[in-house]
């Protein structure tokens, strides 16, 4: 028997039992569509995070006080109190030949007021280089002035939202705002920007690092963002940073240097695993669809007993009957898979319309895997009914006994 004849025979049979066929197709399609949608969600999350990280700037090292045992992990929560990182340490780092530029970061919260309006605001102390290290954009005015890291100055740059809240539609440039018991002059306003790495740059007030330290009465910095000269020198830069600091800290290796790559690959691993497990969960619905196909094909074999007897009388051996039934379940599952792909891709497209920032995109492997799993469940679960049909006694089948 030619394969296209077998397929045609299968299609005739599927058309002969229409409502059942549609239900099966739907079950299979839902299974495949859920694989597509769920893996798109996982893959989208991965792409989203990757994008967020690259907006942070490339060749970036993050230096934080405290030693962590495993590189790329989180700084220790407990144990010996690490020595603080100071602005003098930052100055020393600046002299490393691998460092292109760096920005210390001092953070804290303080009330900020202009006339009667007051807000509790996140204060970020840094230097002029933060502007290019974090790839910030100004909507008005200028950023912090280029000056010695250790020098304070009564100036500040406001986040977009904060500026709106304090000044409304009035111009804020040149105005003096009160930060706790200090005063500073607004010299710039940031462009509207989303949340970057969990820090909402719209709500922040940026001032020179030394001013912030005075404000919070501390000598330490929260962390230092270091931009290296090139991607290849990241590791050397890392070593150099550790050496410079430990030389200054009596030979104690008491800082943690995270690279953006390390963070990124950690997230990448986590989110890829998430995508796989979402795909796996969705694949269970494919399995359910497979079991439904088995059930339907068993019913089909029972309903078409006389037909199977006839095929045997016309000279079809067992093998051929198995092939005919398998073709039928394979067509069913393949068609269902195609339908599911269409559902899934349309679903992605619709979701993309609602969430334009989040990249909904099913990974290629998921598309292949979904169709492959659908087809193989169709065949595997079709095998039992096919064998059942092939083993029918033709005499009994034909006599309807």
């Amino acid at each position: 028997m030619h394969i296209n004849d077998a397929i045609q025979f299968a299609f005739h049979a599927l058309q002969g039992y229409r409502s059942r066929t549609y239900l099966m197709l739907l079950a299979m399609a839902i299974g495949v569509a859920s694989v597509v949608l769920l893996t798109s969600l996982g893959e989208g999350a991965r792409l989203y995070v990757t994008q967020q990280f690259s907006s942070l700037g490339t060749n970036l090292l993050i230096v934080l006080p405290g030693r962590s045992e495993t590189t790329g992990g989180m700084p220790p929560v407990m144990g010996e109190t690490p020595r603080d990182l100071t602005l003098q340490d930052v100055q020393a780092l600046q002299r490393s030949r691998y460092v292109k530029q760096l920005a210390p970061i001092v953070v804290g919260a303080a009330p900020v007021s202009y006339q009667q309006l007051e807000r509790e605001v996140m204060i970020m102390g840094s230097t002029a280089s933060l502007f290019s290290v974090r790839q910030l954009i100004l909507s008005r005015g200028q950023f912090l002035p280029e000056q010695e890291i250790t020098r304070a100055a009564p100036v500040c740059v406001l986040g977009y939202t904060l500026n709106k809240e304090l000044f409304g539609s009035l111009s804020s440039l040149g105005k003096w705002v009160r930060v706790s018991e200090y005063r500073c002059r607004v010299i710039g306003v940031l462009e509207e920007e989303g949340v970057s790495l969990g820090m909402d740059m719209g709500e922040v007030l940026i001032m020179p690092a030394a001013s912030a330290q005075a404000l919070f009465n501390i000598n330490s910095v929260f962390r230092v963002l270091v931009e290296t000269r090139s991607q290849d020198e990241m590791e050397k830069a890392r070593q150099d940073v550790i050496e410079i600091i430990s030389a200054r800290h009596d030979g104690e290796d008491d800082i943690t240097v995270l690279s953006q790559d390390a963070l990124l690959s950690t997230f990448d691993r986590i989110l890829t695993a998430l995508t796989y497990s979402l795909g796996g969960i969705a694949a269970i619905s494919l399995l359910v669809a497979g079991i439904m196909i088995m059930n339907v094909m068993l019913v089909a074999a029972a309903q078409r007993t006389a037909e199977i007897g006839l095929l045997k009388a016309l000279g079809a051996p067992r093998k051929q009957i198995i092939i005919l039934f398998l073709t039928e379940s394979a067509c069913l599952s393949l068609l269902g898979a195609m339908l599911g792909l269409i559902f899934g891709l349309v679903g992605n497209w619709v979701l993309q319309g609602y969430f334009p920032d989040f990249p909904f995109q099913a990974p290629d492997w998921a598309l292949w895997a979904a169709v492959g799993v659908a087809l193989s469940t169709g065949i595997i679960f079709g095998l039992l009914p096919a064998r059942h049909a092939a083993n029918l006694d033709p005499v009994l089948a034909l006599s309807g006994r």
Partner: protein, 220 residues
Amino acid sequence: MIKLEHVARTFKVGGELVHGLDDVSLDIKAGDYISIMGPSGSGKSTLLNAIGLLDKLDEGRYLLDGSDVTELSELEQARVRREKIGFVFQTFHLIPRLTAAENVALPLTLAGVDHDEREQRVNEALESLSLSNRGHHRPDQLSGGQRQRVAIARAVVTKPVVLLADEPTGNLDHASGIEVINILEDLNQRGITLLLVTHDIELGERAHRIIHMMDGKVLS
């Protein structure tokens, strides 16, 4: 051409043994026209199924065209059915979702005959049974007599040597029954060996030879 030697087929029903065929020996020549008669349960269908290789034998030997087909494998038996045997059933056994032409083509399709040759042979078969204009109709659009003619076309499209008809007129009115018998006799005239099971004495007596059965035994 068909030779049965001391053939037996026994069924177990509950704890009891029922003799479907009991020490049956038969010799049927090529081109014979034989009717098989007897009361219900006498083993007529069992005999036909045995000759058609649809059922296995418990004892005895079956020679078809001079070769022993008793011990053939499942695959080889299917091949013999496909090449040498045509079946006509009381209930037609047409596949309802296929057209008349597709039903007739089915044995050729299963045998892997090319589309073109298939079409030609199906058309010939339909034409010889005056069904040329019915090829595209589905079984439920045909009368009983027409359905049985489609079934006969399907049985002969592979050019078998023997035609096994188990009460082919059982579901037909008298006139259609006569018409079907005429067709079968016509096929026999053109050389096919015809074995006909019937309850109708008038029809049965038209055969060249009548086999009477009783309790699984051949009486004459």
